[in-house]
Symmetry: C2
Subunit: 346 residues, 2 copies
């Protein structure tokens, strides 16, 4: 029996519109915080397949979403390429030795050697595959990666950034160096996602969280083309696995979107009607409630009804337009899920 979520991704008719939330396995859930506390810290949790599988499953039972997304972090990739990731309390991710030159890139572990080091991710997926199959509720498992550009921003800046000035200086004054990083990361990501598929995921999502840092005229060159290359590599080998692309905050690029993938994730800043007009014929659309609406049940209902009116249960997956924030009440997250189910007739 095929899974409803997978069918929806592939554009097939489904009995209702499935719903999930970005960061649904996260800090707004007390049950997540308990497992994380036991694991010691965020990175330990990513490295511990049993605990990571546990938090992946939690939102299925607690908020009732229709798909599970692997619990992990996009930065495990550069970490296993040799970049020494750490998360300092309250400060976000840090790489101690950011990339500044050719030699820094040459020193990075590449290709299959790097991808093969991510065993804890594949072990988490295998555990999840088993647990999900045992449940028998036909819940799909989404695997994911960061887009090469988004990963590169951390590898070059050494941490999160407001201005992206170091990587943009590289983009404009030494584009070859940036392309060299992006190519090396792309090769690892292809193999990493292939191994995620082999371990048992049903769907791939590629997050380009920092898409909006690139001007429209340069977005294809420095990010989208690499995402498409990954999608095409996977589609050729695993045509039955749907691929979701999520480039955040770049609606001015929608006219130029191309590539062999299935679902386009719409961020909250882009009106769904605009996305439907530009992309709805070519791709299934996912999204896009503004996550801060989760602070108010009334505002959740307003948005879910508006999105449903635009999409009309056709070629659509409900989601937020970005990750859920830690201070959202759990009952409001439940309200979002149940409102999506109500309007789409589940």
């Amino acid at each position: 029996m095929s899974k409803i979520f997978v069918d929806a991704c592939l554009g097939k008719e489904t009995p209702y519109t499935p719903v999930w939330m970005m960061r649904q396995a996260g800090r707004y859930l007390p049950e997540y915080m308990a497992v994380r506390k036991e694991a010691g810290n965020f990175l330990n949790l990513c490295h511990n397949p049993k605990a990571a599988a546990e938090v992946t499953i939690q939102p299925l039972d607690i908020v009732g979403v229709d798909a599970a997304i692997l619990f992990s972090d996009i930065l495990v990739i550069p970490d296993e390429m040799g970049m020494d990731l750490s998360f300092l309390q309250g400060e976000g991710p840090k790489f101690s030795d950011p990339i500044t030159c050719d030699e820094d890139i040459d020193r990075l572990i590449g290709g299959d050697e790097a991808a093969s080091k991510l065993t804890y991710v594949f072990d988490t997926i295998k555990l999840l595959r088993k647990r999900l199959d045992e449940r028998g509720d036909e819940i799909a498992l989404i695997g994911f990666t960061g887009a090469p550009w988004t990963l590169a921003t951390y590898m070059i800046e050494g941490q999160g950034t407001k201005t992206y000035n170091i990587c943009k200086k590289m983009m404009y004054s030494n584009p070859d160096l940036l392309h060299k990083i992006l190519k090396k990361v792309t090769e690892v990501v292809k193999l990493y996602m292939e191994k995620q598929i082999q371990a048992g995921i049903d769907v791939v999502q590629i997050f380009d969280s920092w898409a909006s840092a690139i001007e429209t005229d340069k977005y294809d060159e420095f990010s989208w083309s690499y995402m498409v290359e990954i999608a095409e590599y996977l589609k050729e080998k695993y045509p039955e696995i749907p691929i979701i692309m999520f480039p955040k905050g770049i609606s001015a690029f929608y006219d130029k979107v191309y590539g062999n993938f299935d679902v386009f994730g719409v961020d909250w800043a882009t009106p769904m009607a605009l996305a439907k007009e530009k992309l709805g014929d070519k791709y299934v659309l996912q999204g896009n409630m503004e996550p801060c609406r989760l602070y108010s049940k009334e505002m959740i209902t307003e948005s879910v009804e508006n999105i449903q009116k635009v999409m009309g249960s056709k070629r659509h997956i409900f989601n937020l337009g970005h990750g859920i924030l830690p201070d959202v009440p759990v009952e409001n997250a439940k309200h979002f899920v149940s409102e999506c189910q109500r309007v789409s007739g589940k």
Copy 2:
């Protein structure tokens, strides 16, 4: 004799397309750093008319821009409303006591009482008016304010924010409270800008730096309508003073833009061709080179030529699509200005 920059803002034909840069009086200039060091810190510089006038004038001579923009900070407004602004070294602005409830708003100084406290700004303008008139080079002086929404984000969060979760929680779960803040700020801004005009500015710019934090469906309600209210108040009394609106990062709202003002500032994330299609008939357009292109002369030339090709010297003012960054070489800023002048025939 009318000023070319003012004529360009009003949509009149001019012998060339004028150019200026957001944050042109700023940290990339060693001459600015010297004055700032002498003033002690950033806020002292804002409070010192002689020093503020000095740094306002600097880019005219050093990089050759066609307009001067008053040196000040948008947060002097909430500071004089009683909010106790400070700038901690390397941390950005802080308000010690953010607004959380009705009583906090009632305690704020409002209307003419708050606007009248900004004497150091009006004194800076008077000094500049005198110095610019003495130069006899018909350089226009731009005054400015932050949009009520952008000011409110700092007043509610107490500082800069990545997620805006405190103000967005207010937006969605207690919109009346947010509107109460926005109304009180709007009243002060109207009078503040009127006093800037009376002191001698030639042009008004309203910066909505955090426009992109609001979803398109709510942008008019929580920000644009207040900006339009300010513009209409000023236009009724001072129809000859051009008004520039700069809502950053909200191109999906361009279809809904309305109001009585002259120039629309286009941010770097919005292709100029898109802005022209949506808004070029109604408003003069300002912008929009991606400021990080200032890291490379070649990339400056590419962008300036592209923008010129789209706008064709008609109803256009050259500018960056956001502020210049501190680590830009001065000679590249000069290259930007001279390339704009070259392509537009100055």
